[in-house]
């Protein structure tokens, strides 16, 4: 009954469980290293991390980042350093979400969140300015009117992932790492990133400092 076997196959499919996720209604957890839209992080005291160095703009292969730095005023500094990002714009019609800007950033000022559901009705909405990119006082990304957010989405959107060395330490080259303090919530560092002395499997030199301490 070779011809009729197929009918049995299709019929039995009727009783199988569906694997479909009904997307806008239910969202699956995104992978931890998801590349969504960017956020500009701030320190816990509210200071901006961006120092206006333009490294992100320089490394961007899609040329979608436009940065202009300016000197901090002594009475009312925006960032702890000498300079800060005066203009910061990302054009999302160009951005390819490669994360190279995150790699390049010396202060972990720019990271990528997990937000990706935005649809613009015009070009000016597609260019996110600093006002839109910088995180709110609670450390969460700001919601833009054209972005689709469901309740609780913002809790899983923190982006503080970088694929290689933070702080430019060459010993950490090609190691996944992040500091435990960026963005919303905290996450334990991966093996080899936090306390190298306790990490027996690490091939790192034992005299190296804890990476997250480097940032302080």
């Amino acid at each position: 009954m070779g011809y009729l076997d197929g009918f049995k196959v299709t019929f039995m499919k009727l009783f199988e469980e569906r694997v479909t996720t009904e997307y806008p209604k239910e969202k699956r957890p995104k992978p931890p290293r998801f590349h969504g839209r960017h956020v500009l992080n701030r320190y816990e005291d509210g200071m901006e991390k961006c120092i206006g160095c333009e490294l992100c703009a320089g490394v961007c292969p899609a040329r979608c980042i436009y940065v202009r730095g300016a000197d901090n005023s002594e009475s009312d500094p925006v960032s702890p350093g000498e300079r800060y990002g005066y203009v910061y714009e990302i054009n999302y019609l160009r951005c390819i979400h490669c994360d190279l800007c995150v790699e390049a950033c010396p202060t972990e000022a720019i990271t990528e969140s997990k937000l990706f559901e935005f649809s613009f009705a015009n070009r000016s909405d597609a260019i996110y300015t600093k006002n839109e990119l910088v995180v709110g006082d609670d450390g969460l990304p700001q919601r833009q009117p054209w972005e689709l957010w469901h309740e609780g989405d913002d809790l899983t959107t923190s982006g503080w992932m970088r694929a290689t060395a933070s702080a430019g330490n060459p010993d950490y080259q090609n190691r996944v790492g992040w500091s435990g303090e960026l963005g919303y919530g905290t996450r334990n560092p991966e093996i080899g990133q936090h306390d190298l002395a306790k990490d027996e499997k690490s091939e790192m030199p034992s005299e190296e400092h804890d990476q997250s301490e480097d940032l302080h």
Binding site: F7, T10, F11, K13, L14, T20
Partner: protein, 397 residues
């Protein structure tokens, strides 16, 4: 057959009213059923493919077809520059009207058991539960399914575009090939029932499952009819007419808006009508046990359930079988189905003749067997010769 008892004592206003009500009900029923057939097909085939299918418009996506229809109405009605204006506009209506007309002769209810002859009493008047019962009932069905081919043919020809033309040429060749098998399978039923009227055919099947023609004609005519009907409906696995991979959309490539919707409607309506015809011809129409109360109500329920079963089968075909190649389609039609149903037709006629004339059993079937053997060997020899000629032609080329 006497025909519909509604008109026996002359026609008055109430008769016309009942007639109009029947037309209206059948029309509405078919439209609504088509609407849900589209939903049913999409939902079932997605179930068979481990998908969810339409589920947003209305509960379980029931209103999906309605939403699609509204969309069709508001789309731009395009006509290609090379198209023949009149025929291009006419073709969808031919397709839709024939789809509606065939349903008129299908009896959708009424008890045929015992003394009752499939009539119901409405406002004190006896009538059949079918829009019309012409004495040529079955011929009307065959005629309509033939005329429906014109809709497809003219649509493809009038589009002024090559893909629709190829699609429609395929459609007409396919429909003509399979109509022969379809017609002969119907003839078997007609011989057994002794009448062309659909009402008479259903009445002839009353009295238990063994009287249904699917059993009493042997299962072969039904299978041939089912396959030929699938081909006639241009449904998978015989949907070469609209083979998307080769022909874009087939004959309706150039159609948009409500004209496309009419083709779409006609296609699904034909599926329902063809299922209803199969139920009528082979499965006793509305026959079924009266379980409790309301005697007029149950036959209609049985009828609908049987139709639903066939709709399921058609969708099942679509989910399971891959499309045939064109030469395979022609081989199946001409070299298998037609010879098979021809022999079966001969056999059934002989059986009926023998019963009518009280011929000797051994002489009759012995002669039949000899004829069958000669016919089969001639056919096989012919097929082989044809194949050889074809091969030679291939080698020469």
């Amino acid at each position: 057959m006497t025909g519909d008892p509604l008109f026996l004592d002359g026609v008055d206003l109430a008769d016309i009213g009942i007639m109009a009500a029947k037309v209206l009900i059948a029309f509405t029923f078919l439209l609504v059923a088509t609407m849900f057939m589209v939903w049913f097909e999409r939902k079932l085939i997605s179930d068979m493919q481990n998908r969810i299918g339409p589920n947003v418009a209305g509960p379980w996506g029931l209103l999906q077809t309605f939403a699609d229809g509204v969309k069709f109405f508001f789309k731009e009605d395009l006509r290609p520059e090379n198209a023949d204006p009149l025929v291009f506009r006419l073709a969808p209506y031919i397709a839709a009207v024939t789809a509606f007309l065939s349903f008129a002769v299908v009896p959708i209810g009424g008890s045929f058991d015992g003394d009752s002859s499939g009539t119901v009493t409405i406002f004190g008047r006896e009538t059949y539960l079918q829009v019309a019962d012409p004495p040529i009932g079955i011929l009307l069905l065959l005629a309509m399914s033939s005329i429906a081919v014109y809709g497809v043919m003219l649509a493809g020809w009038a589009s002024g575009s090559k893909y629709p033309l190829i699609g429609s040429v395929r459609a007409s060749a396919q429909a003509i090939s399979y109509e022969a098998a379809l017609g002969m399978a119907t003839v078997v039923v007609v011989i057994l029932a002794g009448t062309l009227s659909t009402h008479g055919i259903v009445a002839a099947q009353s009295g238990g499952i063994t009287r249904w023609f699917v059993v009493s004609s042997g299962i072969v005519p039904f299978i041939v009819f089912l396959i030929a009907a699938t081909a006639e409906l241009n449904r998978p696995p015989f949907d070469l007419v609209e083979a998307e991979q080769e022909l874009v959309g087939g004959f309706h490539t150039e159609y948009s808006s409500i004209r496309f919707a009419l083709f779409f409607l006609a296609e699904f309506m034909n599926v329902i009508t063809m299922s209803a015809i199969m139920v009528t011809l082979f499965f006793g129409g509305p026959a079924g046990p009266i379980l409790f109360g309301m005697t007029w109500f149950w036959p209609t329920i049985w009828f609908l359930l049987k139709v639903l079963a066939f709709l399921f089968v058609f969708v099942w075909f679509r989910a399971t079988l891959p499309r045939l190649r064109y030469d395979q389609l022609m081989h199946l039609g001409w070299k298998l189905l037609i010879p098979l149903i021809l022999f079966w037709l001969m056999f059934i006629s002989l059986k009926e003749l023998r019963a009518a004339h009280d011929w000797n059993w051994f002489a009759t079937y012995g002669a039949a067997f000899v004829a069958l053997a000669i016919g089969t060997s001639l056919l096989l020899a012919g097929l082989r010769a044809g194949d050889r000629a074809f091969q030679d032609e291939l080698e020469e080329a």
